[in-house]
């Protein structure tokens, strides 16, 4: 197993069905695309034709939502087998999922559920990551999920948990800047110390997205809005701390025309590039 992932620096988009034709034709001016892995973990048909055509045009990052790396009963062999099959088919630049759990005892909530940040959970998550990396024969990236509650037994900050997780397993991070902002607002922490606590050499990818305010007053990670100003500001801070990292706009709902997303992606490119020039 390769023990490291070389940085891939570029700007991309999450590929959504409304925009498949542009990606199939290679018309979208992006450096890479990110796919939702589960959408292509199928037996046959059009999804596999689409991903083969897109892969011929672009580097592809596989982003999953169902690994459930924090489940107390471990990984699902059937899921991991399908994930490996897709990875073997498309040779992605990397495979990512979320620091979360989605179910236990065979139940699957199909949601990114929060984990207590304790030593017990850290041990379990690290064991599951090691197993996943062995199965996939490569290091993986894990993304910080938005959360709407914390646990009474929490004894680690989220960034402390992420840092130790990377140190123990050799995994990397997909930092979702919007999710940091959402969780920070919901739980009353300052996102800047969070970013400062993250080891720069662990960050391989950044997500930028939008959110909405729910009826409860909590910010909800809907990914259905343009990237808002506070997230751009945090992205600027992340670029200054981490240097160049693959960055993409992640839009999951209320999908706008492709040009709108490309404009947001170009905004990220300009911002990151200008900071790079200042640093040089």
């Amino acid at each position: 197993m390769s023990s490291s992932i070389e940085p891939f620096v570029g700007f991309g988009l999450g590929m959504r069905p409304q925009h498949y034709p542009s990606f199939i034709a290679g018309e979208a001016p992006v450096d890479f695309v990110e796919i939702i892995a589960e959408n292509f973990m199928v037996k046959g048909g059009r999804p596999l034709t689409v991903i083969d055509q897109v892969r011929a045009r672009y580097p592809v990052a596989m982003h999953g939502v169902s690994m459930s790396i924090g489940s107390a009963d471990g990984l699902k062999p059937d899921y991991m087998r399908h994930l490996k099959t897709l990875a073997d088919r498309i040779d992605p630049i990397w495979i990512s999922d979320h620091l979360c759990w989605t179910g236990v005892d065979g139940f699957n909530a199909h949601d990114l559920l929060p984990l207590p940040y304790t030593e017990e959970v850290l041990d379990l998550v690290c064991a599951n990551i090691t197993q996943a990396q062995d199965i996939l024969d490569r290091p993986i990236l894990l993304e910080n999920a938005s959360t709407y509650l914390t646990f009474a037994e929490d004894c680690l900050k989220e960034w402390e948990f992420l840092t130790e997780m990377c140190r123990r397993t050799g995994c990397y991070l997909l930092l979702d800047i919007n999710n940091i902002y959402v969780s920070g607002t919901n739980h009353g922490f300052d996102p800047l110390p969070y970013l400062a606590g993250i080891p720069a050499n662990s960050v391989r990818q950044i997500h930028l997205a939008g959110h909405t305010t729910g009826r409860s007053g909590l910010l909800i990670d809907t990914h259905d809005q343009p990237v808002p100003d506070p997230v751009w500001t945090l992205y600027e801070a992340a670029c200054a701390l981490f240097g160049p990292a693959a960055t993409m706009i992640e839009r999951d709902d209320n999908i706008p025309p492709l040009d709108d997303l490309l404009a947001e992606m170009d905004q990220a490119r300009r911002l990151a590039t200008s900071l790079e020039q200042v640093a040089a």
Binding site: E38, V42, K43, G45, V104, F107, P116, L149, F151
Partner: protein
């Protein structure tokens, strides 16, 4: 409390609002629990609405959501993929709409088309191999996505009207035998009606009956046995051209 217990209690809350999880969460975190409770249902309802698009259009939003919630309460998801979650919803609808069989039939068509969409690809056999086979004992190889069943209502007309966004006809019970086949030959799923003779032949083929037996049974249904070769040859040609049959294996 162990992580396993926390996760079991968390699941019990998002599925049925059982409060055992509350001691494990922070004191100010209760409104967050409600977010997860709501998201669980919203995700599954959206999944069912997407999979059963024409059924939702036929029932209307409120009735569909009521049925979806009933299904969710009785059938918590277990597969790693949401693609599987619609499995069995047509059975829930059948129990909820016993007097309206068209609901379950439209739902069956929605579900079958969705399964065919990303089901196993049809790999059509080399014609040279097919030409050299002993047809008396050969067993037809059907499209792996093929499903078929009898229907009692004009569900196809209803489904088509909703697909075309036109006013659907009145629900009617069919006077004669009528079955439906759903499969995918190339990239797009398709469906068409089958009469009793064709349905029985395909069903026998699916059960592994040799082609010689199929031929004899089809010929026996004809008023004039001399028409058998042309009739069966025509059917077989149609099945191959539609990729409903994709090859034949030696018996």
């Amino acid at each position: 409390m162990t992580l396993a217990q926390i996760q079991r209690d968390f699941c019990a809350f998002i599925v049925a609002a059982k409060p055992d999880i509350e001691p494990a969460i922070a004191v100010d975190a209760h409104r967050g629990l409600a977010v997860y409770h709501h998201a669980f249902r919203a995700t599954l309802i959206a999944c069912l609405r997407d999979t059963y698009e024409k059924t939702a259009a036929w029932l209307g939003e409120d009735a569909f959501e009521t049925a979806a919630l009933e299904h969710i309460a009785e059938h918590p998801p277990h597969s790693w993929t949401l693609n599987d979650y619609g499995d069995g919803f047509e059975t829930t609808l059948a129990s909820l709409y016993r007097a309206d069989p068209e609901v379950e039939e439209v739902a069956w068509l929605d579900w079958s088309l969705r399964r065919a969409f990303d089901g196993i690809d049809s790999k059509v056999q080399d014609p040279i191999v097919i030409a050299g086979i002993d047809w008396e004992t050969a067993v037809l190889r059907l499209a792996p996505t093929l499903v078929m069943r009898p229907m009692v209502t004009n569900c196809v007309a209803l489904w088509n009207a909703m697909a075309e966004e036109t006013t659907p006809p009145a629900v009617a019970r069919l006077g004669t035998f009528h079955a439906l086949a759903v499969w995918r030959g190339d990239l797009s799923p398709r469906f068409r009606s089958l009469d009793a003779v064709e349905y029985r032949a395909l069903r026998r083929a699916a059960d592994g009956a040799p082609f010689g037996v199929l031929y004899a049974e089809l010929a026996a249904d004809l008023p004039n046995p001399d028409d058998a070769a042309a009739f069966v040859g025509g059917l077989l040609g149609q099945w191959f051209s539609e990729k409903l049959v994709i090859g034949a294996d030696p018996g």
